[in-house]
């Protein structure tokens, strides 16, 4: 049976090929989207867990924007008073309160921006993923700087070298260079908190405070957040809230793209329908002969339906192959635009996503093949043979 089906499909290679291309693209898109969604959620959870904090104190404004910028090492338009840090540190539920001051120096001629991040020992403790290159160590004075791997490569610096900031007229000694982490840390210049505040003329001001709790249970997080929310000039964003916001953002985008995928799928369906229907019309005489020599209506119905299933499953398989080979490229293209992009690459094809896409496309193929199969099964041998096709 399969041999006959394949032979029939091969009679019109261009038509079958174009149908397969359409189905493959839909399947690839669907597989990538489903895989990205699953991988993004799990990667972002891992990233946030690795930070070992449960909430952030950010200046008044949009709390999610503030927290996202602080997490990505970007600047904020407003800042927090340092008194917020003292209040947070005194809170009985807080195990660690880590202040951050971030400032940007745009280098227009180079089309890049130097991001300077001021941190103290508590903040460094929270960067558990930091790994120093040989010869590196932590801050050993107010004018020491720790460079992310990319920053060090761009400036050709190694521990013990000097680094000058022409815009602020400050000379630093490179205390350490971080190993590549795949996070935004790679391109940052880390300096002691006080130095950063002085350098940018904002003594006593902070961009954000990361909070680690002694007991990270949901009721404790809620109770602490309610207490810290009362700090003047500050607002609290819990990581659970942030995760929810990010996933909602992704979900909205995913819905939109899914709609496009569904449209692509419908177009492909019509293409399958067209292919099978054209096959039925072209082969009316042949099908009539098959009926005349004893093939049952159900047999003919099954044969045509199988043709549709074979086309759709082949399209789905090609699509998965396409997603597996081109998914990495797509992931690299999309990664910079994801809010709080996870540090690790997103797996381009998961088994779940591949199975879901194949099932959906196969079901769609069955739907598309029902009518042509029904038409084929209703052919009357004598009437069909009289037709001048």
């Amino acid at each position: 049976m399969i041999k006959i089906i394949l032979k029939n499909l091969w009679r019109r290679p261009i038509r079958t090929g174009l149908t397969l291309v359409g189905l493959s693209l839909s399947a690839a898109l669907m597989t990538c989207l489903l895989s990205f969604g699953q991988a993004y959620e799990s990667a972002i959870r891992t990233d946030l867990d690795r930070m070992g904090m449960q909430m952030m104190l950010v200046p008044l404004g949009c709390p999610y924007d503030g927290a996202a910028r602080a997490l990505k090492g970007r600047t904020l338009d407003s800042s927090l008073p340092e008194s917020a840090l003292i209040i947070a540190q005194k809170d009985p539920a807080v195990s660690l309160a880590a202040p951050v001051y971030t400032a940007a120096i745009p280098r227009k001629g180079e089309k890049r921006t130097d991001m300077w991040v001021g941190l103290d020992d508590a903040t460094i403790k929270m960067h558990s993923w930091w790994k120093f290159t040989p010869g590196s160590h932590g801050f050993d004075g107010p004018n020491s700087v720790i460079l992310g791997s990319e920053a060090a490569a761009t400036e050709l610096r190694k521990p013990g070298d000097r680094l000058y900031s022409p815009e602020t007229n400050r000379d630093f000694m490179v205390a350490g260079v971080l190993e590549r982490s795949g996070t935004s840390d790679d391109s940052l210049f880390f300096i002691p908190l006080k130095t950063a505040q002085q350098m940018f003329g904002e003594p006593g001001r902070l961009t954000a405070i990361s909070i680690r709790l002694k007991d990270p249970s949901p009721p404790e997080i809620a109770a602490t957040a309610a207490r810290l929310q009362k700090i003047p000039g500050a607002q609290v964003t819990t990581l659970t809230e942030m995760l929810g916001v990010f996933l909602n953002l992704i979900a909205s985008a995913k819905t939109l793209v899914m709609a496009i995928t569904v449209v692509a799928l419908v177009v492909s369906l019509f293409s399958v329908f067209n292919t099978i229907m054209a096959n039925v019309i072209e082969r009316t005489r042949e099908l009539a002969v098959m009926r005349a020599i004893g093939m049952s209506k159900l047999g003919l119905f099954n044969a045509m339906l199988m043709e549709s299933v074979v086309v759709s499953v082949s399209g789905a398989l090609c699509g998965i192959l396409l997603a597996a080979t081109g998914g990495g490229w797509m992931e690299r293209a999309v990664h910079p635009y994801l809010p709080l992009a996870p540090s690790e690459g997103l797996q381009s094809v998961t088994l779940n996503a591949a199975l879901s896409a194949t099932t959906m496309i196969m079901l769609a193929g069955i739907c598309a093949g029902l009518y042509p199969a029904w038409v084929a099964s209703r052919l009357h041998p004598s009437a069909a043979l009289r037709l001048d096709i």
């Binding site: 001629g109 680094l163 022409p166």
Partner: protein, 215 residues
Amino acid sequence: MIRSRTAVFIVLACVAIFAAIKIRNAPSSEPVLVGSANVNPTGPAMVPWREPAKDMARFFPNASEYKLETVVLSRFRPEILRRMEPSYHMDSTAVYSYLILKNGSPVGRVIPRRISGIHGAIEIVVALDNNLTVRKVAIQRSREPENITNWLFADNFLSHYAGKDYQSDFDLTRMLSTTDSDAIKTAKVLSLGVKSIVVELTVALKNIAHKQGRK
């Protein structure tokens, strides 16, 4: 029937390939600048040429376009190292050079390179004539403080590199009228950077030309 179908298929494939080539080679927003394939722009030794139009107008006023060429150095490493100072650390296996063209004919080359200054990276841009002598040197990026930039990055100091070839003495510290140790160190680094470009390119291109001549 099958033949006609195959013919249609071949025609469609040709059209698709032709369209893909056309799209790939479509002129950019700066039509005078010709890019080149076969180069990995993310390679470690690749330094962006930040202001090609401006530099071209300064270095080669009549040039109309440029294209990127990669000169592989691996085979010539021993000779390059022999011609350089012992302190020279050759960390690249290729020179990414921009061949400057005037009406399709080469008039020279521009090579940007990142060197390690005292206070951060310094990006130099070296323009070479067709005979691989230095035409001009410019600084496209640095973090150096004024006590260095005032002395070293001024045209009257950089102009001393003009006319130098791979056999010349590149030490220009005697040209400096300052005793600032940082300025002297940076001048040495700068000279080493310019010399390395000239030597690497000269050794590689001369060997390649010699080999092609024998063929």
